[in-house]
Assembly symmetry: C2
Homo-oligomer: 568 residues x 2
């Protein structure tokens, strides 16, 4: 894919100013560097240089997918309602699904993902165990009517995705297919030049047995992940941890319960401010409704509840905040003034850190009042105790006991071990060696292709612009021509380097300042400046975008140096 | 793009029987050869081998587009209503446009074509003549809610298209861009191995100054084209021609007008059968409504009206069949029994062949009656005479006087010189050297990528299946393994040939008959049969799909032979 262009004729509309509406650095830089433009909220066009980045990422993905034997195909964006009713997702999916009618008033949706289509295909075409296993994949625009599209192509309503689906004979086989994809994904993100982590994740609307996310670490990441040097990683929404066994301070005396007036102060922040007490000695008392009735969760005032832990502890799948009536009935007081005292212990699930708290504070289960000096088990009992709070930096890895680190990440890939969820719904069965009909075991595997481009920028940029990892840069080299007298040597190098590298020749009639700024902004890995220095002593200035270093070389030395830098 | 696969693990669901619903040979063979499957009416998925064909075509198109300096990008499928209102097409486009609402009830359409999006982009980003000319293009799924989707991917509702848009300073520049695209298109279709013709065409809903279609000649083509050996070609809907100047036969006597009863017989076929007279002596009398009032067209009973000619002759842009009331008023008789006699000559437009007719037959302008022995100008007068009928085989080329040949064709490409239609509507202007604001001059250029695959099959198939032109075959070579003892040599060749060619190894546990049939059906150019002949005297049987010829070669001789055949 060697590609040469002169910038004077290339559609690269860079901007001097930051665009309005661009909320994070990757969005801002993609617009400024002339890579994308907005068509409508959450809908973008990829301009030539932006599309080149995406195509380079696509090529890496394709090579790795092909190398694990996956077969590329192309499904349709339009999907008939009937198919989605078979899986049950026509009703489940909600307003994120774009729906439309054709001229005969038949219902369709625009594919946000393709489990239904692919499972139907397998169901129609596969009949024998001999035809298993196989994996099909595609690159395709996906459509999701996000409630709040933002961050440019990062959370768009139409975005470019690679989705793959594996079909296996057995769960063991599926695990093998899953592992193959994990290996391929690791290679892909590595080859794209990204720092990433693979973490355990929730299965969400796709469903299935278990799943992993591939996270590019970046300050602006929407997700929080817990990582250990041992290799363990999990989305903080479900990351387990060991709690440090700290001794309780035996010198602290349990004081006498005391009720204080806290008029109209409902939140931990309000009360702790009013009483001049740290939020870490507050007992946050959260009342939920579940399909099995109400539950009361206790966590420390400076912690966050991990809803997944509470669901598991209570053996429920639905959690929603209880209404006023339920709270009143359960605690005897109004919302905002709840506490464990006087509540039937049967309902109480407590984070262990709460139980170790001395002289704690909570609502008094009456209007405008809190209690001081609450101590467990002196003042209240609980039904269950264990970890309920979200993981925090400093918690210990459950696998190795090492210290967990919390980072922010951008999800660029997600793998799901689906099991039989879709094959069962859409009757994707095969006959085994004994003539018995069995359901295929499936996995599905997605990569956000356009999102990788944005994530790479979040991870690789500086004050001047993008710093592309060389493998996914729109061009390898930019020739910055200064003055008219250098046009012959530029032409020569354009031709020669263009045999091996993607070369952009800035032949515009612009000032050196404009040219340097654009080259930095667009983030091309190698800048070759051809100006007076060449005319006087035949030397070319080479600048490397990632380090900012520069050196002067003769033309003959350049090709070898580029080989080292660009690895080609 | 070298690619190796073992057929035992390849998703290629071939069918022994013709599928129901497949109306033409390409549709039938694409389904049978495991290239496509239907998801819904006019909506298909491209299975791995089918997608490989499309990707090979895509690669050829990309190379040729890049070579004329066009720049690839990616627009969105979702397009906001506002953009289409600016161009006026939101209302014009009709039910072929898929329309939908997002969660906030805003209107969108799914792009059937992208003039609006691209012109808006040019309008926003381009300000100076220095930035012109440029051409942007993309490969993308297009959406058109065809009233009658048919012929598989040939006339589908979601289909893969390459669309390009050129922006120029002047009409001369645009003509140059247009010529560049014409050259690229000719290379593309040639490289795809297709017999094609470039013909003058109508501009339709895209609009513009003029346009050309690129037609793959095939018996099942939906279009009719007129071609001359001098290079002239036009869609028969607008092909001009010279009429042979035949002498009228002076020995024929003009007979006396005669009225005959023709109860309930309205069509030329009915009446000519009833009267035992050839349809060539009937005067077909067609009454239309136009924006300027009614017109009456006369053509010979065995000819077809060219509506474009009539529009031009009458200076109108709309033609629709007149209603009963208009016909009654104009002719004095009911529909089905019209003729020129007694009609105000002001309304009459006559094809010249009608006026030379002797003793003709037409309706009598009264119920259940026709007139015999009508002669011009003895019995009626006309307002206008000239060519009104469609071109026929044997008509003469207007350019060179040679004999025109009529063929059927499949439109695979269409180029439009748009002029200012969209730049004017969407305000795509630039400032010229003198500081004057001018509208950009545009062209647009489409290729139906999936349609090329189907057209190639229409042109290249036999009773056994597809005969792919080598450049777009899903695989170059199939190794047909017979027996288990040949598996080592197969493996060796799979590896060696796979370095240079796309190789499919039929390693399935199937009978030779099944393997031969599948190889023929899928249409892979070269079949290498590895069986007893190899085990006995080390010879391999090579069969060529296009000629059916076979020969026996030693393994060492094969690579050179493949080079000749496949041109690599």
């Amino acid at each position: 894919m060697k590609y040469r262009r002169k910038l004077s004729g290339y559609f690269l509309p860079t901007l001097k100013e930051d665009p309005r509406e661009a909320d994070i650095v990757s969005h801002r830089l993609m617009v400024r560097a002339g890579l994308i433009r907005k068509i409508s909220s959450g809908i973008y066009e990829l301009l030539p240089a932006g599309w080149r980045v995406v195509r380079k990422i696509e090529k890496i993905i394709r090579e790795e997918m092909d190398s694990i034997g996956a077969q590329e195909m192309m499904m349709s964006a339009l999907q008939p309602r009937g198919l989605w009713e078979e899986s049950g997702r026509w009703n489940e999916y909600g307003p994120e699904l774009f729906r439309l009618k054709d001229r005969k008033k038949r219902d369709f949706c625009l594919g946000p993902t393709h489990e239904e289509v692919i499972t139907k295909l397998a169901a129609s075409e596969i009949s024998s165990y001999k035809e298993l296993p196989f994996t099909l994949y595609q690159f395709q625009m996906k459509f999701r009517d996000e409630i709040r599209p933002r961050f440019g192509v990062m959370r768009a309503r139409e975005f470019y995705m690679k989705d793959a689906y594996s079909f296996d004979y057995s769960m063991d086989g599926c695990r093998k297919s899953y592992e193959n994809h994990v290996d391929a994904y690791k290679n892909i993100f590595k080859r794209c030049g990204l720092d990433f982590a693979m973490v355990e994740a929730a299965t969400g609307s796709i469903g299935g047995k278990y799943s992993h996310e591939f996270m590019v670490t970046a300050d602006n990441g929407e997700d929080e992940i817990a990582l250990c040097s041992c290799g363990f990683g999990a989305n903080s929404e479900l990351a387990p941890y060991r709690i440090r066994e700290e001794k309780t301070d035996s010198s602290v005396k349990q004081k006498r319960l005391e009720k204080v007036k806290t008029p109209r102060m409902r939140t931990v922040e309000e009360v702790s401010g009013y009483l001049s007490l740290g939020s870490e000695i507050f007992i946050k008392t959260l009342v939920y409704d579940t399909e099995k009735g109400p539950v009361v969760a206790l966590i420390k005032g400076d912690d966050e509840l991990n809803e997944n832990f509470l669901k598991e502890a209570a053996g429920v799948s639905e959690l929603k905040m209880a209404d006023e009536e339920t709270i009143q009935e359960l605690t005897g007081g109004p919302p905002g003034f709840s506490g464990p005292l006087g509540v039937n212990p049967e309902y109480i699930f407590a984070d262990r850190d709460v139980l170790r708290m001395e002289n704690g504070v909570s609502g008094a289960n009456e209007k405008d009042a809190h209690l001081l000096n609450i101590n467990y088990p002196r003042d209240y009992k609980v039904n269950w105790k264990g970890p309920l709070r979200k993981v925090k930096t400093g918690d210990l890895c459950q696998s190795c006991g090492g210290v967990l680190e919390l980072k922010r990440g951008i999800e660029v890939g997600h793998t799901f071990l689906l099991g039989k969820k879709y094959s069962s719904a859409l009757n994707a069965v095969f006959t085994d060696e004994k003539g018995i009909s069995r359901e295929m075991i499936m996995g599905c595997y997605g990569i956000g292709v356009t999102r990788i481009a944005a994530a790479a920028i979040e991870q690789h940029h500086d004050k001047d612009g993008i710093v592309w990892p060389p493998a996914i840069a729109p061009f390898d080299v930019v020739l910055i021509q200064l003055g008219k007298k250098t046009s012959d040597i530029c032409k020569e190098m354009y031709k020669e380097l263009g045999e091996k590298y993607d070369v952009l020749w800035d032949d515009r009639d612009e000032t050196p300042g404009v040219k340097f700024k654009d080259a930095l902004l667009v983030g091309i890995p190698v800048h070759i400046i051809i100006g007076k220095k060449y005319l006087s002593d035949k030397k070319l200035e080479i600048q490397y975008r990632n380090t900012g270093e520069k050196e002067f070389l003769h033309k003959e030395e350049i090709e070898e140096r580029l080989g080292d830098i660009l690895g080609k």
